[in-house]
Subunit: 319 residues, 2 copies
């Protein structure tokens, strides 16, 4: 099965390494890598260290040469528009390619449209790595919760804010918290995207679209970030045995799925307060299976790449 | 698809209710219920409130009349021998029936033999509800972790000891802890099975057999229970910011899979210390997906019944 990969950052490189290691048992072939800085295309398969030429003029030009069955979309996110990933995915689906993405933008902004397009073209659109760094969520619900409905969820899904709030709880300033998050590599882009709750809102919208058919967008999430919190407020909460965590919540109401992102004051032994640093956790509420959830400890690009790989394996199994 | 159910306790009753509610979309039919106290068989399907006759002389007699494709094994556990469930499952497999069990004994004691027998007969042996009350574990690993290996695990899987240890941490006596566990309905049988770590050892062996092909038994688990702990020791740990939890651990070594059950002194913010009361948690260590896990909050017989139902759905989908 031939893959065209868009973007070549940490996750894409980890995926390329994983595919190379697994090539004996699972012979996926990378036939194109396309980034803003350069493009490599070779329909018979790129070498482990591909030589990049100048960037191709369009994704269509890349795909014309790649003979790929799957587009793997791993570009950098623009969370408001979902672009350029959204256009990439539309292009690939229109051409009859399966799509695997680790990019939450399109799933948060336009999942219903993309899913319907994939159905019409009889191809798969998979996105396991979008919200939990490769931990089984979408695939787990699809495979392991037959006949059950997800009625709500609560997630501690953002690493940057966890690191900042924990730093402040130890008496550090907000700015020192940001610096610690940067040092851990979790706030690589604009940390305010995390701090203002946009990342949590994107993940909430993506999860609600996938697990609850919410047909929503990040802009529709009732969102407040952590920018008004101070070390004093964190200390006050800690003195009462409480922790403050930025939580993404969804619940089904008669008016549809309501989504909310808030810094919540939780009992320190609340499961949502049990994750630290870059670890994350999602609690699902269901009609038939009660409350259960998944969590990941200290994930990195390798885990996200594994989520993409798991989706590729699912496509390979079923085609 | 016709089901013969063995045992008719809380889980079996919850399953019967669930199957009845789902009968429109998922028409499973219960054609036999067999307990030590009575048997009801009707090949065209039992009514919602079946009339029990005297107990059948043998499982073969039950199955002769039931025309069932699946045996659902929900009898009471004898953890040392795995009986009578083990004989029930062998009988059913020999007759070419699929088997779904919520009974950890046979999976902990004889999984390899039973799995091989099921393969030879070309039937399924499924057991999702054995260790985590229906939370996706076995099915999740099988469906969602392609090409990855579980290299170890750590689980806080026993409710009775959690309740007792938490009671002692609040200053209550061991006996008061047992009474509280009984009041919560989690120590229904002999609480010493939980207190001495046998339940945790059974779950460790079952998980290791299923997830790591360990071919082990509960007797091979290096096991110590919580009977020597006191309120004083719990208070001492709490004063140091620690919690004590009975943990089931597995790790792969060059000498095979090593299993251990111990009351471990954990940092209070360790994820294994984040579960309370009847909630439970399993942390998996893997080669390709790092460390991640699943947890369930306050499960009851409905969740266990749902795990059985999920297995039935899996069999129905693939036959």
């Amino acid at each position: 099965m031939n893959l065209a990969i868009l973007g070549f950052g940490n996750v894409a490189r980890a995926l390329a390494r994983l595919l190379h290691k697994q090539r004996g048992a699972h012979p996926f072939r990378i036939t194109a890598i396309h980034t803003r800085r350069g493009t490599a295309v070779e329909a018979s398969g790129l070498p482990a260290e591909p030589a990049f030429g100048p960037p191709a003029a369009s994704l269509d030009e890349v795909l014309d040469g790649a003979n790929a069955q799957v587009l793997v979309e791993l570009t950098t996110l623009n969370p408001e528009s979902g672009e350029p990933a959204l256009t990439h995915i539309r292009t690939a689906l229109r051409r009859g390619l399966h799509v695997v993405t680790a990019n939450k933008g399109p799933i948060a902004c336009a999942y219903h449209e993309l899913r319907e397009e994939a159905r019409r073209r009889n191809v798969r659109l998979l996105h396991e790595a979008v919200t939990m760094d490769g931990t089984p969520v979408s695939n787990m619900v699809r495979h392991c919760l037959p006949a059950a409905a997800v009625t709500g969820f609560a997630g501690a899904l953002n690493s940057t804010t966890k690191v900042i709030l924990e730093a402040m709880a130890r008496g550090h300033s907000f700015e020192e918290g940001i610096a610690q998050a940067r040092a851990l590599g979790v706030a690589e882009g604009d940390p305010w995207f995390d701090i203002e709750g946009w990342d949590s809102a994107c993940k909430a919208a993506a999860l609600a679209n996938v697990l609850m058919d919410a047909r929503t967008t990040p802009a529709q999430v009732d969102r407040k970030g952590i920018s008004r919190l101070t070390p004093e407020k964190l200390a006050e909460a800690a003195a009462k045995g409480k922790a403050i965590v930025l939580v993404s919540r969804a619940r089904r109401t008669t008016q549809g799925v309501k989504l909310r992102v808030r810094a919540e004051v939780l009992d320190r032994d609340d499961v949502l307060a049990s994750m630290h640093g870059t670890s994350n956790l999602l609690l699902l509420e269901t009609d038939l299976m009660g409350q259960f959830g998944v969590f990941t400890l200290d994930p990195g690009p390798e885990q996200t790449a594994y989520g993409v790989f798991a989706d590729l394996m699912e496509i390979a199994r079923n085609t």
